[in-house]
Symmetry: C2
Subunit: 346 residues, 2 copies
């Protein structure tokens, strides 16, 4: 029985093909990152090549002057800012940016992966929370660096810990937004979160809780409402919060777009902002100052994050073994006109 | 003297290089669309090759499964919708989308063009108004199809007429928006236009004028204000319109984003929408129903236009001599809550 120790003789292409039960041409496709091989077969052959110490040629394929961005929703206001940030940097470096969407927050289309392997870009920036380990391995086998940008990792996959990520200080952001409302005198504060399987949501909720508790108050779990980062969630959860008994005088929304949903819920109930309700958003998208009233929000420095992600791809190409800690850039509170103080003793 | 008639002997690569005073390797780069040749030299050699009937090999380079999109502003809400429309179609066809911005509404970066020639995509969809003739010729020499999508052509370059374009019915859109306001009883209607060098603006203004005149009224040129399609222009021009004597009771903005600028101008002057002012936008972006009040606007079917543009690229690859008339898709009025009737005899 042949072991996997270092003195196993190196396999030829034909031997690998025979062992895998495929043609030599299929093995060659996998080796050269060409399309036309199913993901399963590709993985199987990659593993076999690793196990049999196949001597990959030392002349790697040329790197295309492209950066791939993978998004969950290409047209979300958040993705747009990230894409245009990366595009600006890439253009300065005479590189193109390939933008792809996926319908699944936790995986890319197999056809997308095949395209990436085939075009061999400088690297991949993923705006979706995770890629399946299988897809990560296939990129790695081709030395194509992968960096995730918030959307953020699932809290429970942080143990995986081997995909470099660029994030922003979500805990601090949640804390700053909430402290701002507390400082204005609000005591009943609602929060609408992002999806609970995203680290960014979890960290912001933790910041909210920490601020409330630091102020010597207790957190009413009914005031924390879950939602996607969508307008419809801000509208629905905003309506629920604003029609409950002892309704909140302030709402901290998970995104600027959600905050606009809260605006609509308040408008339908004839609750004035900021006189009767303060609202804080999250992201500071270009539309935040255009809302009526202009939105107080937490600024996420997406341009800076995009720059950092691009820089990191290049560093990883130069040294694939580079160990990158998670990089977090600072968030900041931007006060506009959607928040106001309330009288503590009416 | 050697003529350009059909019996001119076909040149060899070396002869072309000698005539142009460059190396054979430079000519070869031009022939194969590889980078490293200045735009001027490339053009000169292309022309020489054409004149000398250089026999291009009949085995063309493979077409990369990519579509290039060129935008003026990658993060404009309009561009985002177009990009995500093309991306959805491209993904169904297992193609990637390369997104590039330019700082010039009338030209692409030379580095961009070089990248496109190098990667040989299915084709280019341009969201900027025009490309210089030189850049168009270089794409054509490589058989890379180019389709423009509104942004629209400059009115005065329509004579060029040889780049296929996909547009929407801007004249009808301008007419429908204005007629809606006239039907509600408005008689003093302001209009904020797009840039005057874009056909889309010109056509919408023409629609506005036609509707006003059809109603038996005359057009007050002071009520037609120029602007970019930006929030800042809606705010500035909206303010001017709303502070003039005999202020308009309705404003037709050139874009949804401009309309939000008008909202802000009205809010600052404490003019209520729709009670004291009706506002109509243009585009029907996702944010239109989220505004306060939800915006009445003209819907531009960007998804349909993106689909059409992608289809056209493929058709042009199959038959580069295909003659394509300009394609216009229909626009439609979407009535929400920013428009209301006024009392004609107060």
């Amino acid at each position: 029985m042949s072991g996997t120790s270092d003195d196993t003789p190196r396999a030829t292409l034909a031997e690998v093909a025979r062992t895998a039960g495929v043609s030599v041409s299929t093995v060659s496709k996998v080796l050269n990152g060409r399309p036309g091989v199913s993901a399963e077969t590709r993985t199987e052959i990659e593993e076999l090549l690793d196990r049999r110490h196949y001597n990959r040629r030392n002349s790697p394929r040329p790197i295309a002057p492209l950066i791939d961005i993978l998004c969950y929703e290409v047209d979300s206001a958040w993705a747009v800012e990230a894409i245009s940030g990366v595009e600006r940097i890439a253009r300065q470096q005479a590189m193109g940016v390939v933008v792809s969407g996926t319908n699944d927050r936790h995986a890319a289309d197999p056809a997308w992966l095949e395209g990436v392997l085939n075009r061999n870009p400088l690297g991949v920036i993923s705006l979706i929370s995770t890629l399946p380990t299988e897809q990560i391995k296939q990129l790695r086998a081709r030395n194509i660096p992968l960096v995730t940008m918030d959307a953020g990792d699932s809290p429970d996959s942080s143990g995986r810990g081997d995909v470099p990520s660029i994030g922003s200080a979500d805990f601090s952001g949640g804390y700053a937004a909430t402290k701002h409302l507390l400082d204005l005198g609000h005591r009943t504060i609602g929060m609408i979160t992002g999806p609970s399987d995203l680290m960014v949501s979890t960290a912001r909720v933790a910041g909210f809780r920490a601020a409330v508790e630091t102020a010597g108050l207790s957190v009413d779990p009914d005031l924390i409402r879950p939602g996607e980062f969508h307008h419809a969630d801000g509208l629905a959860q905003g309506h629920l919060l604003l029609t409950r008994e002892n309704r909140p005088t302030a709402i901290f929304a998970g995104s600027d777009v959600q905050a606009l949903g809260v605006y609509e819920a308040a408008r339908a109930l004839r609750i004035g902002i900021p006189d009767q309700l303060s609202v804080v958003g999250y992201d500071d998208l270009p539309l935040a100052p255009w809302t009526a009233p202009p939105l107080t929000t937490i600024r996420v420095p997406l341009a800076e994050m995009s720059k950092e992600a691009t820089r990191l791809l290049r560093a990883l190409r130069d040294d694939p073994n580079l160990t990158v800690p998670r990089i977090e850039v600072a968030t900041s509170l931007v006060v506009r006109e959607s928040t106001a103080s309330i009288d503590l003793d009416p």
